[in-house]
């Protein structure tokens, strides 16, 4: 199984870099991962707001929220979402938030 070393810690990930064991997520993981998802420097408050929103939603409902729900609940639009996470809400934000890899005909 591939592993990735971030900020001195080793994590088991799949070939696309998604966490294999979702419980291993922590904030250092998200921060250390940001640069591989085209996010410069440290994560801002806006980033963290979205990451925690995604995690809370996933914990409560067992699924990642629909994109419309993300935008509505956070008062942002898709453009802003892509400014924050250039690789997109699924590949970028969900990966940093430690959610399971999006599936289906993506």
């Amino acid at each position: 199984m591939p592993t990735i070393e971030l900020a001195g810690k080793t994590y088991e990930v799949d070939e696309d870099g998604f966490l294999e064991d979702l419980d291993k997520w922590n904030e250092e993981f998200a921060q250390a991962y940001a640069s591989t998802e085209d996010i410069q420097g440290t994560l801002t408050e806006e980033h963290w707001k979205l990451i925690h929103y995604l995690r809370n939603y996933f914990q409560q409902f067992g699924i990642a929220p629909m994109i419309r729900k993300v935008c509505k609940d956070n008062g942002i639009d898709m453009k802003k979402l892509y400014e924050l996470f250039p690789t997109g809400p699924a590949k970028g934000a969900c990966k940093l938030a430690g959610l399971s890899k999006p599936t289906g005909c993506v």
């Binding site: 966490l19 294999e20 064991d21 979702l22 409902f61 067992g62 699924i63 990642a64 399971s100 890899k101 599936t103 289906g104 005909c105």
Partner: protein
């Protein structure tokens, strides 16, 4: 970096004769199998030579095609919606030399009129993770056997063949004269150790068309009611931790009678003809024989312009099964409730 620029404008890549006669064509003729002539109001003509392609092409093949187009077509060519190559010839004198060159290189010229043109197909074992069969393999095996129908125009009407390697039905299997569709016959097996990390359980439960999947929230996994499962594999699409592929039981079903055009009769969905044939690579002889049989019985019995579905509706399904010798089984009886049959799936209607 500039993004969202879209594809290049197609009008920059069409032959000058098409530019000049754009939207001003008078008529067309099929000169011979695979060769078309379009004549514009101006009197100018465009000659089109249609050649088969395997759809999966190497860059080298594409370069070879470009080279041919450079020599005979001033560099102009196009691909059709069934993945055939069309060489667009403006200079009539270059038509015969082009045909000779294509014959020399063994490019099959055909696919026009009442023929069997290319098979619309999918990824199969080449690239996809949910297939129940291969795509390129069966397509090659079948087109080898029915090659004469590609290069001639002897059928009552054109016969569209499509292949999809799983029930996602990418492509056109649901609306083709003859459709080849990969199916599973066993229940998927959830891997309880991987489901919690890989899958969204509510999504997996909701993906099941028969409600056979239930969430097991205590163990953060799912359970399947085997009696309700009909092996569609949809849950595997959304949850990678419940594989369904089974080399011994996966195989192919054959469907017939679909069409998309509004000519003469409304568009139709294809209907089940053969519930299961085994995967038998590399030549899939059972599948090839079954399709050939349907084509031959259809060609012998249908009237001119009558598509497979129209022919079956005229003679009735009982007669279709008796003429083709295909056994009718309980698997043929639809047991899935869908309202779509009551919808008008056609553009045929009158303005008030």
């Amino acid at each position: 970096m500039t993004t969202d620029i879209g594809p290049p404008d197609y009008k920059t890549m069409i032959p000058p004769v098409v530019q000049r006669n754009y939207g001003k064509w008078l008529f067309h003729e099929i000169l011979k199998p695979g060769v078309l002539m379009h004549v514009g109001e101006s009197g100018e003509a465009l000659y089109t030579v249609r050649a088969g392609s395997p759809r999966l092409l190497s860059t080298e093949t594409i370069r070879a095609i470009c080279e041919i187009a450079d020599t005979y077509c001033d560099g102009y060519l196009r691909f059709t919606s069934r993945h055939n190559i069309e060489f667009l010839v403006s200079d009539k004198d270059k038509l015969e030399p082009l045909l000779e060159e294509l014959a020399r290189r063994s490019y099959p010229v055909g696919g026009t009129g009442h023929s069997i043109s290319n098979i619309v197909h999918t990824q199969g074992w080449v690239h996809c993770h949910t297939p129940a069969t291969d795509a390129s393999g069966p397509v090659k095996a079948l087109m080898d056997e029915i090659h004469e129908y590609f290069v001639t125009m002897t059928l009552p009407a054109h016969v569209r063949i499509a292949l999809a390697c799983c029930l996602n039905m990418c492509g056109a299997v649901h609306c083709s004269d003859i459709a080849i569709l990969g199916i599973h016959r066993t229940v998927p097996k959830p891997d309880n150790s991987r489901v919690p990390n890989l899958c969204e359980i509510p999504t997996t439960v909701a993906s099941c068309p028969t409600g056979a999947i239930r969430g097991d929230m205590k163990n953060k996994t799912v359970t399947i009611n085997n009696e309700k499962c009909m092996y569609c594999g949809n849950c595997y699409t959304v949850c990678p931790a419940m594989p369904i592929a089974d080399p011994d039981n996966d195989g192919i079903s054959i469907w017939v009678g679909g069409k998309v055009s509004n000519a003469r009769s409304t568009p139709k969905f294809s209907k089940l003809a053969i519930p299961y044939l085994p995967n038998n690579p590399p030549r899939w002889p059972e599948v090839v024989d079954a399709v050939k049989n349907i084509i031959e019985v259809y060609a012998a019995g249908a009237r001119k312009h009558e598509r497979v579905g129209e022919w079956i509706e005229r003679i009735g399904w009982e007669r279709f099964f008796s003429l083709t010798g295909i056994p009718f089984t309980d698997k043929h009886i639809d047991d899935y409730e869908m309202a779509t049959e009551t919808f008008r799936s056609s553009m045929q209607f009158k303005w008030r």
